[in-house]
Subunit: 327 residues, 2 copies
């Protein structure tokens, strides 16, 4: 920086002012400094800057199951928005979700001196752990509705489930089962709520609830059972991967989809349009969610307030696994 100042014939402070876009610099000086900067290929030292400003220009992203469709796309959105805003993005992926691993990862971020943290750990217990931390560093929790301490951002999963189940109701189905995710996942719980509410609103009893684990393997296993007992005429499956397993089980068992049983999935992964048959499902824009998380976090860094929670609305994509109840 001293070198740049010398070349431009000004003081180091003026160079700093140009770098930080301070208003009171005459345009000729600014120009001279900028020329010196490009001439010398100067880049300012982030460490020195953070040391004095107490800002690292870094946002930490903490997540579990980061290779899954939802989390990885959320990360994509977060990363893009953060970089556009001139922030660095540091990631920590959790192998295993326990209060300890979460605290470890948060400590890791604190050591790094991140300016804010986005958490994508979809288990309810997470938020209790986070309560202690949020006073030290601004925090956005994906999946939480937020409160006065914690900023929340979420896809309205209940709404998505409502869309799915109402679609089945519109087609005349009454015995509508639900193959859910693990009930200790926030997303799974919200989808169960939506399914249950849609049925009770229609005056029906929500009886057939099967807890799954998100995997295709589990969908296959449970699908085989359902094919055998035929207790439902339609099945709302909590994600597309399980739906894939169900589809295969039904195929093997000679249950025709959608003639015999209708299926609705959740997520709308790109592959779902090429299942046999193409899957009716609920689409969610995770990238948008990620981007808006950063928006919320940056707002908060300026204002200090948690801000209004974000809700992204899902939409139903009708394909070929759903049909009017035949008999």
């Amino acid at each position: 920086m001293e070198d740049v100042a010398r070349v431009a014939g000004v003081s180091h402070q003026t160079v700093s002012r140009v770098l930080n876009n301070h208003p009171n610099v005459s345009s000729k000086t600014r120009e001279r400094v900028e020329q010196a900067i490009t001439e010398l290929g100067y880049r300012r030292n982030t460490a020195a800057r953070s040391l004095v400003t107490r800002r690292s220009q870094t946002i930490g992203v903490l997540g579990s199951e980061m290779a899954q469709y939802g989390p990885s796309h959320t990360l994509l959105g977060v990363q893009q928005a953060a970089r556009d805003a001139g922030y660095f993005v540091s990631v920590a992926a959790l192998r295993e979700v326990t209060p300890e691993t979460i605290k470890d990862a948060i400590a890791h971020f604190m050591d790094q001196g991140v300016d804010g943290i986005v958490v994508t750990v979809p288990h309810p217990g997470t938020f209790d752990v986070l309560k202690d931390i949020t006073s030290q560093v601004p925090l956005v929790a994906v999946g939480s509705i937020g409160d006065e301490h914690l900023s929340g951002a979420t896809v309205d999963q209940r709404q998505g489930a409502l869309l799915a189940v109402r679609h089945l109701l519109d087609l005349g189905h009454q015995r509508i089962g639900h193959l859910s995710g693990p009930t200790d996942w926030i997303d799974a719980a919200a989808r169960i709520d939506g399914w249950r509410d849609a049925l009770t609103d229609a005056g029906l009893e929500p009886t057939t609830l099967i807890e799954g684990d998100w995997s295709a393997e589990c969908g296959y296993r449970e699908g085989l059972k359902i094919a055998a007992d035929r207790s439902v005429s339609a099945l709302f499956v909590a994600n597309d991967q399980m739906a894939l397993g169900v589809l295969r089980a039904f195929h093997e068992a000679g249950v025709h989809v959608p003639k015999d049983i209708s299926i609705v999935g959740f997520d709308d992964q790109p592959e779902s349009a090429y299942f046999i048959p193409p899957l009716t499902t609920v689409a969610q824009d995770f990238e948008e969610l990620g981007q808006r998380c950063i928006g919320l976090l940056l707002d908060r860094l300026e204002s200090g307030a948690p801000g209004t929670p974000i809700t992204v609305t899902p939409r139903l994509v009708v394909r070929e696994t759903t049909a009017r109840l035949s008999n």
Copy 2:
């Protein structure tokens, strides 16, 4: 740090020595300092440390298509290994791959002062761009075989393709087509090479090569054509997603898999075991690849030499889309 020193009754430098595990500190002093640290909940300031050591303890991960199966799992491995080694992981995902976007992202990392970079951008042009950078910061390129400047780490995709095609040859197939990835991807090119070599080694002509784009949609489209002309008895598809599309096309066209045509995929995503029918494919351990990248990078940070390139060996997973040629 001054506070810790005061509580422990030593100088700040002694605290620093304890923190950095310097040998010449008496065990009583060390203990006293450590107690003071926990008592005060002291964490050392990374920015100040980097400023003087000129090390940021951060590794940058640059990738394109980061939400895809391969890249996202590589990131997982990289992240885990880096964090275990006490490094922070900064990510930059490329929306679009051009020399400019790559240079931008690298500049972003340089601004941050990363100690090393892992690049997962599977396009050949990438490496030319990186040539200029590698003198400034250690760099590991996934997909590159490496040279004296650049450390390389790669899954032996050609080997994987050989396995796939030889499996088909063993089953008696002779007309073996290949639905490849975009030819400007390194991975796609290596798989094409493997397919071609396996055939020529067997004294066969590698004729039916179709260039795809990795998507299920493309697999479906091309699958429909193949179903119509029946020019091959077996198809080696360059990834599982395209294979899914092919499977659906064949199903629609009434082509039975594997009786009429055998199919081998590539990647072994968890879902592939639940395709209809379950997909024979080639498994690659991306997480291991990521972990070993960090190993290579850390070695290099110490020794300065590019190190021996890493090769991860894929393996064939036989399921139900391949069968002995019937007639």
